[in-house]
């Protein structure tokens, strides 16, 4: 089972959580990023995600390793990111992290999505309802992050 994946297929939270299954697990947390219908008051028609897939999967794997190294009680990490055209409400990313007990999971989850937005080579273009489109550049401070 791949734990770190970039895919054009629709994402299922359930299915990503299932990748962590083992009897020693007592708690799982997930982060689910979805496509919002508006940004900065402007109606969005859809998003177009583009990735450098091989490096994206490599950096996702790296984030998993960083999490397990910082929080040794974390047992498993799975991160799946969807690319291509995503409609409003669609799930763009699912991060799932498991442990025997819940303590480390919340900080680990926050770290996971923060790092993803920092280092994973994936980009999104907003296509607006009023025509026009723009590549979102969070790193340049042009736009508030999800």
């Amino acid at each position: 089972m791949e734990m770190f994946e970039v895919t054009t297929e629709p994402l299922s939270v359930e299915e990503v959580v299932a990748r962590l299954t083992e009897p020693a697990i007592g708690a799982v947390v997930t982060f689910v990023g979805t496509v919002r219908g508006e940004t900065d008051g402007r109606a969005v028609r859809y998003l177009e995600y583009e990735a450098y897939p091989e490096m994206a999967e490599e950096t996702l794997r790296q984030i998993g390793a960083e999490i397990r190294s910082r929080w040794p009680d974390v047992r498993r990490v799975a991160i799946v990111h969807r690319v291509g055209r995503l409609e409003i409400g669609a799930v763009a990313v699912v991060i799932a992290i498991s442990a025997a007990h819940r303590a480390p999971l919340f900080d680990a989850l926050r770290y996971g999505i923060d790092r993803l937005k920092e280092i994973v080579p994936i980009w999104k273009k907003e296509v607006w309802a009023d025509g026009g489109a723009e590549w979102v550049e969070e790193g340049s401070g042009a736009r508030e992050a999800v």
């Binding site: 990023g33 450098y52 080579p121 790193g139």
Partner: protein
């Protein structure tokens, strides 16, 4: 270091806004052996002026790992020009 400086070929990948500005997602360029990332970027902006508005925001990956501006390139390297990422 036998004094001979041959030529290396580098595959360069583009994504997102700069990819659209250039109208291509990959080019191959030749550079003198021992060239650095910095020198590659200079060559690219000379050859592709459309890249200019983006260069100061670009990060660079060599063979799928982030690399500094002074990293030395080798024949066959895959270099990616990465605008600020926006996943999630």
């Amino acid at each position: 270091m036998n004094g001979e400086r041959g030529t290396i070929n580098i595959r360069v990948k583009f994504f997102a806004a700069p990819r659209e500005a250039l109208g291509t997602n990959e080019v191959t360029v030749s550079l003198p052996a021992g060239a650095t990332v910095d020198e590659l970027l200079k060559l690219l902006t000379e050859r592709y002026p459309a890249l200019r508005p983006y260069t100061r925001f670009l990060s660079v990956a060599v063979n799928r790992a982030y690399a500094g501006m002074h990293a030395e390139l080798h024949d066959g390297d895959e270099v990616a020009c990465l605008p600020p990422v926006g996943g999630g």
